[in-house]
């Protein structure tokens, strides 16, 4: 059920955004020299670092002769949340996140290109303010592009919720922490916007089937908007050409 107080009477959200407005996304590719690809992404107050190593030879136990093995690890800095976390990784939530990340990213990578190999994708959440999964997928997507691994399409993720303004229901895009905490619906979609396909879909809380379509449409629209932003960032990064760091490494 949509939480009643997610939208004000003026139709604005708790943090002052309009229902169809994303948080500000700032991103940077190639932040580190050691990994094969890296990216930093800020989505509002959520800040995420992603690093890609590989493709390299897979360890014996994991190796697959058909396709590349995608290995993801999601960890959150102990100071990233309001309450201090005791462990940066290894808890249930991080493991679930790693699994979902792998699912979404494997869908985008052309896995058949590198049999017997492995790609490591490491995500580090520096600051969490809702939508960490979405930010992680978007950052990982940029890091994969930075590493030059062939992708089918951009993979982006976006969440959506449902708010109520007087009698009408209004879907909200890009859910922040306060909206998550307000116990509303949260539908997270990872998709390949240019092909229109969905790589992962997850929903928490109750939502009437009548509203499912509008929420999903809004989340997919969010994914498309994010793709445009990421694409802009990639083009700008490439236009800058050789950065100072590239010259140093060579």
């Amino acid at each position: 059920m949509p939480a009643a107080d997610l939208l004000s009477s003026q139709g604005l959200r708790l943090d002052g955004r309009r229902p169809n407005e994303l948080r500000r996304i700032r991103c940077k590719l190639g932040v580190f020299t050691q990994p094969d690809g890296s990216a930093y992404l800020e989505q509002g107050n959520t800040k995420v670092l992603a690093a890609v190593y590989g493709p390299h030879q897979a360890s014996k136990s994991k190796m697959s002769t058909e396709a590349v093995v995608v290995n993801c690890q999601y960890s959150m800095a102990t100071f990233s949340t309001g309450e201090r976390k005791n462990r940066p990784r290894g808890d249930r939530k991080s493991q679930e996140m790693s699994m979902h990340l792998r699912q979404a990213l494997t869908a985008a990578i052309k896995t058949e290109m590198y049999p017997r190999s492995q790609i490591d994708i490491y995500i580090e959440v520096l600051q969490a303010d809702g939508g960490t999964y979405c930010a992680s997928v978007n950052a990982a997507s940029l890091a994969l592009i930075d590493s030059g691994i062939p992708l089918r399409a951009y993979v982006t993720a976006c969440s959506a919720s449902l708010g109520r303004q007087s009698a009408t229901h209004e879907p909200l895009v890009d859910v922040s922490h306060i909206e998550e905490a307000a116990d509303g619906v949260c539908l997270t979609v990872a998709s390949l916007p240019s092909t229109g396909s969905i790589a992962l879909l997850e929903m928490s809380n109750r939502l009437h089937m009548d509203h499912f379509n509008i929420v999903l449409t809004r989340a997919m629209q969010g994914c498309r908007d994010i793709e445009v932003i990421l694409d802009g960032a990639v083009r700008q990064h490439l236009a800058e050409g050789w950065t100072k760091q590239d010259v140093i490494t060579i």
Binding site: Q34, A51, T78, F79, Y122, Q127
Partner: protein, 277 residues
């Protein structure tokens, strides 16, 4: 070091360079690499700093919590270090891979801050014997380019400098219990005195000479390195043997074990003092 492969010729090149006081990146033996320091980068933490020393990247976040002091030190606060090697730095840190290194760094830091001349824990006391502040210093290694100890200690000092401790507005004593009321105003805070917080200096013995701020390549050439903690006040550095500030002798090659440190400690200590000034 992590995932670094050097051929023997490359190693010889580095070792010879060090003997000539001219290292492969153009530095002399007592030069540091350029560093970049930023504070107040994480808004969820009370204090934070990010240090980039060439390509070593460290992020430190400090969180505060109210705790009861230890019975044997009723007027002192607590400080706890946690080092986390992010897998971003090197795939070897994945899962529990970085734990050994992480705990060796955090233990060294804990020992360096243990001495009362190094960092005055009394400033963290709220009510003697009842309540004190506990600082959680969480250190995240984002990229490794050698010389972790120095970088971690520098970033920690910067983050402590940046830490805001909220002021206590009212105290309610109810029998044995203390009830605190913290100020609601986010601008009502105090800073900590970090003037004497220790810095660690790593001296890496390569061939016959010692170098400071070794890069990852240089670390892989050295069999032994000595880590010296130096407090900010140049008069009170604890250079005596057995003082708690001389923290750790880290042996990379286990076969030489205790022989190495004994034979080189006096000389390297002298070097370290010079560097600390």
């Amino acid at each position: 070091m992590a995932g670094l492969l050097l051929s023997s010729t490359e190693k010889v090149f580095i070792v010879h360079g060090v003997q000539e006081d001219f290292r492969s990146d153009g530095r002399s033996n007592i030069d540091y690499r350029p560093m970049e320091l930023e504070t107040d980068v994480v808004s969820h933490a009370s204090g934070s700093a990010r240090l980039r020393l060439a390509n070593t990247d460290i992020l430190v976040g400090i969180k505060t919590e109210i705790d009861t002091p230890k019975p044997d030190k009723p007027d002192m606060g607590k400080i706890e270090f946690l080092v986390d090697g992010s897998a971003n730095a090197t795939p070897e840190f994945e899962g529990r891979g970085g734990e050994n290194l992480a705990s060796s760094i955090s233990n060294t830091m804990q020992r360096a801050y243990h001495s009362s001349q190094a960092f005055d824990l009394k400033q963290l006391c709220i009510v003697e014997g009842k309540q004190c502040w506990k600082l959680y210093v969480d250190i995240l290694i984002l990229e490794c380019g050698g010389n972790w100890f120095d970088a971690v200690s520098l970033a920690t000092k910067a983050a402590l400098f940046n830490t805001r401790i909220p002021l206590v507005k009212a105290l309610l004593m109810d029998g044995g219990n203390v009830d605190l009321q913290l100020s609601d105003d986010p601008y009502d805070f105090k800073f900590l005195d970090v003037g004497s917080a220790p810095l660690l200096v790593t001296l890496c013995k390569i061939g016959e000479k010692c170098v400071v701020d070794p890069s990852a390549e240089e670390e892989s050439c050295s069999v032994i390195s000595l880590i010296v903690g130096i407090t900010g006040n140049s008069k009170s550095y604890c250079a005596d043997k057995g003082a708690s500030n001389i923290t750790d002798v880290d042996i990379k090659c286990s076969t030489i074990s205790m022989n190495g440190p004994g034979s080189l400690a006096p000389k390297t200590l002298k070097n370290a003092i010079h560097q600390g000034m």
